[in-house]
Amino acid sequence: MSSPRSRWVALLGDLHFWIPLGVFVAGVALLAWLP
């Protein structure tokens, strides 16, 4: 099993993380724009 640190480093380089996070942020921004 990899070390905890390497696991979280791998997460930060994972497109499967950044795509949903980016869409979530965009969704929150859209909600803020909708009166």
Partner: protein, 422 residues
């Protein structure tokens, strides 16, 4: 994995997707009983409370929270994806409220239901779905999803006759935004299941993300803690129906998780999007919608329903061959190497086996406390419940409930026999 096992799992995934559609559609029924005057965010918030209670008590009953702890020890990084998925769901659900307000359900529903098409794209781009599947299966899945989408459009246009609304651009943007968020939410689903996480464990953390995000939105829109509390007190008469809606929704969503696991998000999500068909059945036969509809409207309803059924059948028949499944296994092994997971454990979980099954048979005091708390909350809400303001046909409601229950029993037995709910 041998071909026979793969065929069984594929059939199981298809059955799970269809069952998910039935229960996700039925979840709309209790919310229809809610009278007007309650802020939409409050409706969503109470329903999410029902979802939270169900997502912790059902796993405690079926598998025990020891199983959740075992999964957490093996794949702690997946908690991030589960929380993200819950947050995406909550924001998308809130966007649908604005979409319905601005353009109406007829326009909004098919737009956000396009999330199934996005699921196919993410599945193919990120997880090896449809790779090596052959042209016929590509046509079956993509064509089936497009036919399903066309049926959804026809059904939606026939279901609601509404005058043009102002702020159409805003409403369409909100509906498409909901579709984008829900469609992208399936990335964490697939990520979790090719990494070996158990669906019940994924949902346990998913709901924390849901509640946290929904609570933040409710706090922001209803005027802080005091505003949320006063809204909840005002809604106490209908809380039971909303909690029930949330509970029914969780059952449907659980089957959707199994569909995503065993046939992938490219097939599983479009199949569970047949919830629109079931929602229509509840609306027409139980709540008398379209009772005075013209022949033309009814013809569109029948045509839309047949299109949706045809699309779902095309997808159901386009099961993944061994060659495609090898690409799924390759994607799973990539995750195992990236995150230092036991490769044999990951592949076993993907094949529907549960190497940690010994943890699943133990029930602790915590498990029974969770079940007792959820039961008490439902009983308490039921004691405060007001009789629904809408008239509905109990014979039709009973028939649809029995049909949904029959699907549940069939699918649950199949899941138990084939995977022990793994």
């Amino acid at each position: 994995m041998d071909a026979a096992r793969l065929r069984r799992l594929q059939a199981l995934g298809v059955l799970s997707g269809v069952t998910a559609g039935a229960w996700l559609g039925a979840a709309e029924a209790p919310t229809k009983l809610v009278t007007l005057g309650i802020p939409p965010v409050a409706i969503s918030f109470v329903m999410v409370m029902g979802v939270f209670l169900a997502r912790w008590s059902l796993p405690a009953l079926l598998r025990g929270t020891a199983g959740v702890r075992a999964d957490l020890a093996r794949t702690p990084h997946l908690v991030v994806w589960a929380l993200l998925a819950g947050g995406l769901w909550a924001v998308a659900n809130t966007l649908t409220v604005y979409a319905i307000r601005d353009v109406g359900l007829a326009i909004a529903f098919p737009l956000w239901n396009a999330n199934g098409l996005l699921g196919i794209v993410w599945g193919a781009l990120l997880f090896g779905e449809l790779r090596g599947a052959g042209r016929l299966r590509w046509v079956g899945v993509c064509g089936g999803a497009l036919v399903l989408f066309a049926g959804a459009v026809v059904l939606a246009l026939a279901s609601v006759e509404e005058a043009p609304r102002a702020n159409a651009l805003r409403g369409v943007t909100a509906a498409l935004g909901a579709g984008l968020l829900w469609g992208t939410m399936y990335i964490p689903y697939r990520k979790a299941y090719i990494s070996g996480m158990h669906p019940l464990s994924f949902l346990a953390f998913f709901t924390i993300g849901e509640v946290a995000t929904m609570s933040t939105l409710a706090w922001a829109q209803l005027g802080g803690v005091a505003g949320v509390w006063s809204t909840l007190v005002a809604a106490k008469g209908v809380a039971f129906w909303l909690l029930l809606g949330g509970f029914v929704w969780v059952i449907g969503d659980l089957f959707q998780q199994y569909a995503a696991k065993y046939v992938g998000i490219g097939r599983g999500i479009p199949l569970s999007n047949t919830n629109q068909l079931w929602g229509l059945l509840w609306g027409v036969f139980v709540f008398g919608e379209l009772a005075d509809a013209e022949a033309g409207v009814l013809a569109r309803v029948v045509a839309g329903s047949l299109l949706m059924a045809a699309g779902a059948l095309a997808i159901a028949l386009a099961s993944a061959p061994l060659r495609e499944h090898q690409h799924w296994e390759a994607a799973a092994l990539r995750e195992a190497r990236r995150y230092g997971l036991d490769e044999a454990w990951v592949l076993a979980r993907l094949a529907g086996h549960d190497p940690d099954a010994e943890h699943a048979t133990k029930r602790s005091v915590l498990d029974w406390a969770l079940v007792a708390t959820a039961t008490a909350a439902f009983v308490g809400a039921a004691l405060l419940a007001e009789a629904p303001a809408l008239a509905f046909r109990t014979d039709a409601a009973l028939a649809l409930t029995l049909a949904s229950a029959a699907l549940l029993v069939w699918c649950a037995l199949s899941l138990w026999r084939t995977t022990r709910f793994g």
